[in-house]
């Protein structure tokens, strides 16, 4: 745990905002860059992805009755789902990820989510990132608390790819946010750098990035990242992993899932988004190759969408959703979680939550990052076993 006094002194943000802000420039006693071997990569699908069209319960007739124009057909038919286990199949746009499911390095958790009833994007994202559903006063993120619960090894142990520090990494993990690792640093001569370092308390993270120069690394194994924001983010996360700068937790997000109108089925808006999404994740796994055994990728989204399609061939805000896990340590080739069925719906409209998202993360953080207690990560909550890691 970082001493509060040092925290304030070394934090540039403290200077700017009067000490109320998280520490982003932790001046470490040792800036060693060989941190823990394992890396957790979390991707937030902002806007609430329609999980029922991602991992499709094609064996349930009620699914087709509720979605006359946007349902994904049964496996074996044109545009049909790709079968996973005889009950669930994935959207055909997830084809690039299917081999990972088949070789048991990928798994899904269906009917997972937050117990809080809110259907507000903003509140639900906030609750999920804070890891304290229903509590609005939590200021830091649960990934930040998980990182802070293990000894600090590198100023680059927690990185968010994006222009703003996401709530999930806000707090005392010393996380850094960046959009472009090639431009993560101060242009200008040594004197300018030194002056700004004096003002803000040091830019160790930027210095390490500069000397390791991860941006020079080309994707391996013939991986080609789609040219989209998520592709750029995951490509850079892979570069950070491969350059051994001590990364332990990486986070990024991707929007465009709020499909209230014209969602489409096997083709269309959601299909295009899912294709980009799965091609990007598949490229990431291919790029990292055997290194992927050290990496656990987890996806999340604030809530699911209504079981019934709405009047605009879309879906409105719902409740339970689906998560994807890929990489080292995953008990793959399986759709985890208890399926609540489409007969007894939450508030008569939405898929019920049978697995708390915190249960999934508790397993990942315990088994992959070596966080020994969930007491500070998910205060007041006793996670239950899911068996996905």
């Amino acid at each position: 745990m970082i001493d509060r006094r040092i925290f304030l002194k070394s934090s540039g943000m403290a200077l700017v905002a009067g000490g109320l802000l998280p520490n982003v420039f932790v001046r470490m006693a040792s800036a060693a860059t060989t941190g823990g071997k394992n890396v957790v990569v979390a991707i937030f699908q902002r806007g609430a992805v329609d999980g029922l069209n991602v991992v499709v319960p094609y064996a349930e007739q009620a699914y087709y009755a509720a979605r006359p124009t946007i349902a994904i057909p049964r496996p074996g038919t044109e545009g049909g789902a790709l079968d996973l286990d005889g009950f669930f199949g994935v959207h055909p746009a997830l084809a690039p990820l299917l081999p990972y499911f088949k070789d048991r390095s990928a798994a899904f958790v269906q009917a997972v989510g937050s117990p809080d009833a809110t259907r507000s994007h903003f509140d639900a994202q906030d609750f999920m990132e804070c890891g304290t559903p229903g509590v609005k006063t939590t200021e830091d993120g649960f990934l930040a608390r998980a990182v802070a619960a293990t000894p600090a090894k590198s100023p680059l142990r927690a990185v968010a790819l994006g222009p703003a520090m996401p709530r999930i990494l806000a707090g005392r993990a010393g996380a850094v946010a960046m959009t472009n690792i090639a431009q993560f640093g101060i242009r200008g001569d040594a004197a300018v750098n030194s002056a700004f370092e004096s003002m803000y308390g040091g830019f160790e993270a930027a210095r390490i990035v500069k000397s390791a120069d991860p941006a020079k690394l080309q994707p391996d194994n013939g991986a080609v990242y789609p040219n989209n924001p998520l592709g750029n983010s995951l490509k850079q996360i892979a570069q950070l992993i491969k350059s051994n700068v001590g990364l332990e937790v990486a986070f990024t997000d991707v929007g465009g899932w709020d499909t209230h109108a014209g969602e489409g089925g096997a083709q269309g808006q959601l299909a295009n988004n899912l294709r980009n999404f799965s091609e990007t994740i598949a490229a990431f796994a291919k790029d990292l190759g055997s290194r992927m055994s050290d990496v656990t990728l987890v996806t999340m989204s604030e809530f699911g969408r209504t079981v019934k399609e709405n009047g605009n061939r879309g879906t409105d805000h719902g409740h339970a959703n689906v998560m994807l896990l890929l990489g080292g340590g995953i008990r793959g080739g399986k759709v985890h979680g208890k399926w609540p069925g489409l007969q007894n719906l939450y508030e008569n409209r939405d898929l019920a939550v049978t697995t708390d998202f915190r249960d999934v993360f508790a397993e990942v953080l315990t088994k992959r990052l070596g966080v020994t207690s969930m007491g500070t990560v998910f205060p007041g909550y006793a996670p239950r076993a899911v068996g996905v890691v």
Binding site: V16, R46, T69, S120, A175, V192, M199, G255, H260, G311
Partner: protein
């Protein structure tokens, strides 16, 4: 003894300053920072000459400020004066036709797009719009007006990246938002509810009653009504109904239920956008797809057979709820006073909102007239948003912006692309959303480029700010010119020892300093 000293330090830090009142000069600087985008050289003196109260009063009545120079500059952006319809015709229709011609082949489309002259490319529309916002914030004498435009465009956020909204935002800002920000909240709310930009952004344009809830029409009319694609197989869309309560009015804890969301969505069925063959791109109420069954929203009951007046009634009800008054008051206080505004202030401002029938000028006035606004504890204590930071830096060094596009790119890097907030929440007004290492470094890089005059299309001459002085006095002279003499001793010493001899480096370091990040 040690403990006492520590407590004193904490208390002084918490109070910001030990003095109970701001000096006149500090008040003038504070007004320019919070009610505008920071001072240009000479502005503090000018405000003191006019008198701070009188200057504020002028700012509260922007129609009385000539602003001729900015008016002339805006004429360089041809799309700003075009109607929604003209914009769609000129910039969108050709793309649709091109796509049809190319039969969906992406490469052909790409080739055809590259042949379009710059002036006719669709991205020109948002580029002009972004440029005018920057030019106005930098150069307009109606500074408070631009602050409020930024505030209300963010409150009623519409994302330029969603479909045809990139052609509708010009009219949205010009015709819906700008003319109403000093009027009644209800008028502003109603205008946004009927704006094509919002109707498209939050999907209400497509929300129609379930077939069994529609009015029965003579067959002739029914046939025509069914021509609309959404009417053939349409139904309810909750998106707008939820966000108008959660974000535009009551707030997420404002006491509504999922049932209220669904019922309000039924109230707004038929609020849509005219199709080109109906004569344009404006608001249209489609009675044929309006839900005519009885409904109850927030305890307000509507009997069967209602029409557009139901939605107008609900706009009126929502605009006058105490929860709405509180939310608007809170957000205004957060923008103008502090990230976590004092409860007593918010309550007082909310009361004024309710007492004046949601008069926005009176509500803003209540914030500015409050002792909390002038409290030394909030003086130079609020971190600037990227937009505030970039514009205030340009104004501080008296730069001239010939081409605003490099500024727009800088804003993107620092994390606040204008019209680029995808979720309906818009951008945050709190420091924690903006302060992280990557964004901070982008701010510092911007500061160095601006002061070094290396931004293309932006003309900066920092030497003109100080004249011919030695390094030691240069740091102090620039400290006074750029921060009103508010550099800490620590920053002064750092720059003196590391800033070298060049005025532009020293100016860049001051613009990048923690002191300049705050207002």
């Amino acid at each position: 003894m040690k403990v006492t000293k520590l407590i004193t330090l904490v208390l002084v830090a918490a109070m910001g300053m030990s003095s109970p009142h701001l000096t006149e000069r500090q008040r003038a600087l504070h007004a320019l920072n919070r009610l505008g985008f920071g001072p240009r050289p000479g502005d503090v003196d000018a405000v003191m000459r006019v008198g701070i109260d009188r200057w504020i009063d002028q700012q509260l009545h922007p129609e009385g400020i000539a602003d001729a120079a900015v008016g002339a500059r805006l004429r360089n952006f041809p799309t700003l004066q075009m109607s929604d319809r003209e914009l769609v015709q000129k910039y969108y229709v050709p793309i649709v036709e091109m796509r049809r011609e190319a039969k969906g082949d992406e490469n052909t489309i790409k080739e055809m797009r590259e042949k379009i002259p710059y002036d006719q490319r669709p991205q020109r529309v948002v580029e002009d719009l972004v440029s005018q916002r920057i030019v106005r914030a930098v150069d307009s004498d109606r500074q408070l007006n631009e602050v409020m435009v930024d505030f209300w465009m963010n409150h009623f956020n519409v994302f330029a990246g969603k479909g045809i909204d990139r052609f509708l935002l010009t009219g949205y800002e010009r015709d819906t938002i700008r003319p109403r920000i000093w009027g009644k909240f209800e008028d502003l709310l109603l205008a946004t509810a009927k704006s094509p930009a919002m109707l498209f952004y939050l999907d209400n344009a497509q929300s129609v009653a379930a077939p069994e809830n529609r009015p029965s029409l003579p067959p002739r009319f029914a046939a025509r009504a069914m021509q609309a694609p959404q009417a053939r197989r349409g139904g309810l869309n909750e998106n707008y109904a939820r966000e108008i309560m959660e974000l535009h009015t009551l707030g997420v804890d404002g006491g509504y239920t999922q049932k209220d969301v669904t019922e309000l969505a039924r109230v707004f069925t038929g609020w849509s956008i005219a199709r080109p063959q109906e004569g344009g791109t404006g608001f249209v109420f489609r009675r044929a797809v309006h839900d005519v069954r009885p409904k109850t929203v927030l305890g307000v009951h509507f009997p069967a057979g209602g029409g557009i007046e139901e939605g107008e009634r609900m706009i009126h009800v929502l605009a006058h709820q105490p929860a709405t008054a509180h939310r608007i008051a809170y957000k205004l206080c957060q923008r103008l006073v502090s990230d976590d505004p004092p409860k007593a202030l918010v309550d007082r401002v909310a009361k004024r909102f309710l007492a004046t029938d949601g008069d926005l000028r009176e509500t803003v006035k209540a914030v500015i007239a409050s002792p909390e606004f002038w409290d030394p504890a909030v003086y130079r204590a609020k971190v600037k948003t990227p937009f505030e930071y970039v514009v205030s830096a340009i104004r501080a060094v008296d730069a001239h912006v010939d081409d605003a596009r490099p500024i727009a790119r800088a804003l993107q890097q620092i994390g606040e692309p204008l019209y680029g907030a995808q979720p309906p929440t818009g951008y945050s007004d709190k420091a924690e959303a903006w302060m992280n290492s990557g964004a901070l470094m982008s701010r510092l890089n911007f500061a160095m480029s601006l002061a070094g005059n290396t931004l293309p299309g932006v003309n900066t001459n920092v030497n003109a700010l100080v004249g011919n002085v030695d390094v030691a006095s240069c740091v102090d002279a620039l400290g006074i010119a750029l921060t009103g003499g508010n550099l800490t001793e620590e920053t002064r010493q750092t720059i003196k020892s590391k800033g070298g001899q060049q005025v532009r480096t020293i100016a860049g370091l001051i613009l990048g300093s923690p002191e300049f990040q705050r207002q």
